[in-house]
Symmetry: C2
Subunit: 404 residues, 2 copies
């Protein structure tokens, strides 16, 4: 039987609720008498290699609850992507500390780490239970209805576009908002939930699941601008042409000057700025503004879905339960059971690791620039309670006197 | 005596609470029996010229309350900056509709419009009461302790930096956040309120009130990075060198390539991207990220200060009271009377119009890269109740076993 020491770590990009999962593990583990110590590794797998552990058993439940409600990774994170040799080092440290259960909260890369460490332990005949706990704002883990962290980031994006739409209605023009998600468009698609009235933006949504054509884009913008006198556009940072070349790179080239020069073409404001320049130059629209949501969408404090908080806590709790009562390693997954309720299951890590989910076709409108009602139904309950709402003055026009 | 018709309009950039002032005017005006009609001009002064009026008297109080809680300008706004001829046209329309009271909610430009229209009416011996109602996220109106709209935008900036700091602590590196405010650094300075623990960011704050020196900046960043292993930086979009040249323009030139080429150097991501490139190139720091908060900081729905909401409502109410019970035109101003309470007074429009307030010296630390406690005391009550808070795990290290 596995020993009474557990180790938990957090990997990859932080989310608004990743500490809920950490605290879910810590508090649930305390309910099992056979668990003597709960260690946390600082800065993910890097902290394991460095034996940089803190003893979470000595935390108060009160402080754990406060940390649970704090965004970003309280233990620290890492971008290290362990290969087999790295995982072997991880395993050696786990062995030295007589860790019996290893919980790793993270996305794709983290699940792959769990997979390799699990294999190492089996090969060495060391009794280790390895559980991957899902987390990613990109919502790109297969086997999950959705992933913890995505609903809160989606809520930020929906609120950002609801506000940007109101701003754009007050001072009409074209607004381009660039959203995270290199391969999966879920977060960009969440912009659609910021829409209330039929003429609200976002009027156009560009996802990495569809090939981006610049001429088609300009025509779309022109059409919407003529229809509404304004246009709000949501763009995924991952848009690319048919060959897979990022649009930012293409635009920089097309503009025939060294726009953004040596400046990297992702993880900055280049795509938004270049698209805006293109619209100004080709469509002769004067007021064109672009924002790149950047880190705000994943790190802003005070924009969180209560559904996401609850589920992130639960995946942590369930991970411990699966580990203590179950007989195999795995990856905790969220299954939707009703509108709206969920349950959890333990998938084989191999089913999750190294795979990327993208938006299902049924979620993307036929025209390629909008989402479907199926997507709206999918996402709405995840955003949680207390979503801010926008209202308008009713239109009671006054008759003209001077210019009748 | 002035007629029983009033006209209200909204100008300049929208804020989170500008509709509170609109609704303050509309609801307070209904309490005066002699006011028969409350008109709203759509899209600011542009709507006056175009006689594009809606009758707010026909609104329900319930819908007005819902609109009050909706950010951005419900009547629409404009960037038109009226000159004397434009103001004459405004006056002609007010005269034709027998408007007796004109309320204009806006910043510097709007107060100047009120000043000129007021003079036009006096010259024509037309009985018109003109009141300017303050609004600007820049907090740059003289004669005011602060301006409605600023507290909510400041809250967004503080929350954004609180979150960015947590993200940066989890995945250490350098983070640059560029904040609005061309001449006044109040909004950028609000980033300091996102700080809780002594080693939290923002570690450096650059305001337009101080001359920006690139070498000094790089040295500051290097020092902080060495001290904390990371560095979070708040930068005003308005930073400039001793000659007043914007830093984005200087950097583009210094990098000796056409970075951002024909792309405009303000109102986009250029400054953040160029500063990040500079840090990477000169300090050899690998993980450097920049965000430009852009429109999010003024239009995000769901991040609002309740103090700001209340005061924005009150300036609207007081404007009507000053108009109905007073005997002169003016600009409503907020005066701080306690820690924390305010009262309102009517300043001569001439005292406000065409002037720009910048941060007082007592608010800026001697080193030029931080704010003072005086500023923290000034801003904290404005942010309102329910500010999200960040907590940390307490440090209970576990002894190393392998690498003792």
């Amino acid at each position: 039987m596995a020993s009474g020491k557990i180790l938990v770590a957090q990997g990859g990009g932080p989310t608004a609720v990743i500490n809920q999962s950490l605290v879910g593990v810590a508090l649930e583990a305390r309910r099992f008498g056979q668990i003597g110590h709960i260690y946390g590794a600082r800065h993910g797998v890097r902290g394991i290699i460095d034996e940089d552990f803190v003893d979470l058993t000595q935390e108060t439940s009160h402080n754990l609850e406060l940390v649970a409600n704090t965004p970003s990774s309280a233990l620290g994170s890492t971008r290290d992507k362990p290969d087999a040799a790295y995982c072997h080092e991880i395993f050696k440290v786990l062995q030295a500390h007589q860790i019996g259960h290893f919980f790793y909260i993270g996305g794709n890369d983290s699940s792959d780490t769990v997979r390799i460490v699990s294999q190492e332990a089996q090969a060495a005949n060391y009794d280790l239970r390895c559980i991957h706990i899902p987390k990613t704002i990109d919502n790109d883990l297969v086997g999950n209805d959705h992933t913890p962290g995505f609903p809160s980031a989606a809520r930020f994006v929906a609120q950002a576009f609801a506000g940007a739409n109101l701003d754009n209605a007050a001072l009409p023009g074209v607004y381009v908002g660039v959203v995270m998600g290199r391969h999966a468009g879920f977060l960009t698609a969440a912009s659609a939930l910021g829409k209330k009235f039929p003429d609200d933006g976002p009027h156009l949504i560009y996802l990495p699941e569809r090939v981006f054509d610049l001429n088609k884009f300009l025509l779309d913008v022109k059409t919407m601008y003529e229809r509404h006198g304004r246009c709000v556009i949501a763009v995924s940072e991952g848009i690319h042409d048919a060959s897979g070349t990022p649009i930012a790179a293409l635009l920089a080239k097309e503009m025939e000057h060294d726009a953004h020069g040596n400046v990297q073409l992702s993880g900055n404001g280049a795509l938004a700025d270049l698209l805006c320049e293109e619209i100004k130059a080709k469509l002769k629209i004067k007021r064109v503004r672009g924002d790149t949501f950047g880190y705000l969408q994943r790190s802003f404090i005070g924009c969180v879905s209560d559904v996401d908080q609850r589920e992130a806590r639960e995946v942590g709790e369930k991970a411990v339960q699966f580990a203590m009562w179950g007989s195999r390693d795995g990856s905790v997954a969220i299954k939707r059971t009703g509108f709206y309720s969920v349950d959890y299951e333990l998938l084989p890590v191999e089913d999750v690791a190294g795979k990327t989910r993208v938006m299902e076709d049924e979620f993307i409108a036929a025209n390629g620039t909008d989402v479907t009602d199926a997507f709206r139904m999918y996402l709405r309950p995840l955003l949680g309670s207390g979503m801010p709402d926008a209202f308008r003055l009713r239109h009671n026009p006054v008759a003209k006197v001077l210019h009748k």
